[in-house]
Amino acid sequence: MEDTVSRIDTLQAIELAEGVEVRLRIAGPLPRGMALGIDMLIQGVILVVVTIVLAISGIGLGWNVASGLIMLAWFFMSWWFPVFFEAGKRGATPGKRSMGLRVVQTSGAPITFGQAVVRNFLRVVDGMPMIPWLPIPTMGFGLAACLATKRFQRLGDLAAGTVVIYDKVAAEPAVPAPPPMDAARPLVVLRPEEVQAVVAFRERAGLWSEGRRAEIADHARELTGDHGAAGVSRIMAMAHWLQEKR
């Protein structure tokens, strides 16, 4: 069971030098794609505005100087824009920030300037193959690499040793569970993940309706030896015992 969970779950456990494990929630291709779309939109708007402003000031500067500046703007916008933001304090481009994402090293530490360079320069390869006749990347390589790796890393991430994570995970809504009636010792010795499941049942019970609680508790009939509302209160009692009385 543990194995399947770690294979399905996007939580990535990372051991720090302090000897403790923290869990990072890795971001998948969909939010990252949306962040990329937002970034491209922002870059496009900036380029259009810069081009218009420079074209107007070209009357004073001379048209050639203006078009030279426009080409420099293109260069910096296409290669250095994401590097600038990701190497900065927030570790995220505006698009990633708006999606609540952040780029970190696989160790969980903030990325260095060099890592930002590598992962963003390789974006041209991740963008392959291009849509025929249009300069629009399909991100096919990047998507394939994301789906093939455990931590949703595109090629640039692999070469830079980085991952994209959710910066702040929204806390689960906490609704106080019904107060425990009594404490009951489980009849069998529970494995750690079973203890976790029982405790999680109690934590989340406040979010469910009466019927749903009974439905879920019925799956644990072997443990409770009862069904329906009686089974629910059995589990609650066990959770109480496990957390408070042990």
């Binding site: 720090l16 302090e18 000897g19 403790v20 494990e21 923290v22 869990r23 990072l24 500067l61 001379g62 048209w63 050639n64 100087v65 203006a66 078009s67 030279g68 500046l69 426009i70 080409m71 420099l72 293109w74 260069f75 296409s78 290669w79 970190v104 696989t106 969980g108 530490a109 903030p110 260095t112 300037f113 060099g114 890592q115 360079v117 590598v118 320069f121 390789l122 974006r123 041209v124 390869v125 090629l155 640039g156 692999l158 070469a159 830079a160 040793g161 702040k168 995970v169 806390a171 689960e172 906490a174 750690p192 203890v195 976790q196 405790v199 999680a200 934590e203 496990l242 957390q243 408070e244």
Partner: protein, 322 residues
């Protein structure tokens, strides 16, 4: 100990840690910030305890995010200043190139062999050149290099056109360098393709000039920036090959780690290549098309080639650099 009493005993410490972390995150450290590392380590052990004792998910989640935030602050890398940049220029870059001397010769061959093959076909079989340039490009070559040397500087006589070409060369040529590097991730194939392609293309252009245009006007134009640009391209190729070899030849590391290590060791080469090609754009924009006697241009070009060789062979050696 029950989760409730655990939280009661340690809660105030976590609030204090969170206050310190938020203040540092905002860039305005508050009083007691020198306590942060100690409090961070305490929170780490609290998290380990909470997880081991299987306390509630909310408690673990709270400690988890607190530890992650603290970790990001304590372990951020320090930005290196101008000193490091200078060190890189006078020692780090030539050292990095010398260290990868095998890749240097490999990438040089990938570029120069097609170059000379196509250049030579100006005398042997012009069809190769025709096929690789195409009619439009041949017309453009004739327009640029067809007449006397003055023709080029005449094209640039309009106000600001030097700057426009500088912008163009930055965007185009430095962009090509970055693509050569990025192509390396495809098991070196992209890098090899771009190097050979550029060798063919530039060689064909040089050959066509000898066939149909005024060679003097071409060679005086390229003499000045050739050393920066062509060596820069070769170095970008080395960076791409280094990256690709991480996949092809991971050695004793697992392949994922090997790629990341290769990316790290390719970086100095990439920085150097980008800088060299940017310098080439400066020369190409503001010097190469100026109406200057041919001897001066050839002299400057040859001097720069010699300086490059000296730079790569001898800079950053000796005890002071180490």
């Amino acid at each position: 100990m029950s989760p409730g009493s655990f939280e009661e005993r340690r809660g105030s410490e976590w609030v204090e840690l969170e206050r310190l972390i938020s203040s540092v995150e905002k860039g305005k450290p508050e009083e007691g910030v020198d306590e942060l590392p100690r409090r961070f380590r305490e929170a780490c052990s609290d998290l380990a305890l909470a997880r081991h004792r299987m306390y509630s998910g909310h408690l673990i989640e709270r400690l988890n995010s607190l530890v992650i935030r603290g970790y990001k602050l304590l372990y951020r890398s320090r930005r290196s200043g101008w000193e490091a940049v200078m060190r890189f220029v006078v020692a780090g870059f030539p050292q990095a190139v010398r260290k990868e001397w095998r890749l240097f010769w490999l990438c040089s061959a990938l570029f120069w062999l097609p170059f000379f093959a196509l250049l030579a076909s100006a005398w042997w079989d012009i069809d190769w050149i025709r096929a690789s340039l195409g009619p439009q490009e041949m017309a453009a070559m004739e327009q640029m290099y067809g007449g006397q040397e003055e023709q080029l500087s005449h094209l640039r006589s309009e106000h600001g056109s030097n700057f426009m070409m500088f912008g163009f060369y930055i965007r185009n040529n430095v962009g090509i360098d970055f693509q050569i590097f990025a192509g390396g991730i495809a098991a070196c194939l992209g890098t090899i393709f771009f190097l050979v392609y550029n060798g063919i293309h530039i060689g064909a252009a040089a050959g066509y000039v000898h066939y149909a245009c005024n060679p003097q006007s071409f060679w005086t134009f390229v003499a000045g920036h050739s050393s920066f640009e062509l060596l820069g391209m070769v170095v970008a190729g080395m960076a791409g090959m280094r990256l690709g070899l991480g996949i092809l030849k991971p050695g004793r590391l697992p392949r994922g780690r090997a790629i990341a290590e290769a990316g790290k060791s390719a970086l100095p080469l990439l920085y150097g290549a980008g800088t060299m090609t940017a310098l080439a754009a400066v020369v190409e924009g503001f010097w190469s098309a100026q109406p200057i006697p041919a001897e001066v241009k050839y002299g400057a070009g040859a001097t720069l080639w010699v300086l490059h060789i000296v730079y790569f062979l001898w800079m950053g050696r000796g005890r002071r650099a180490a």
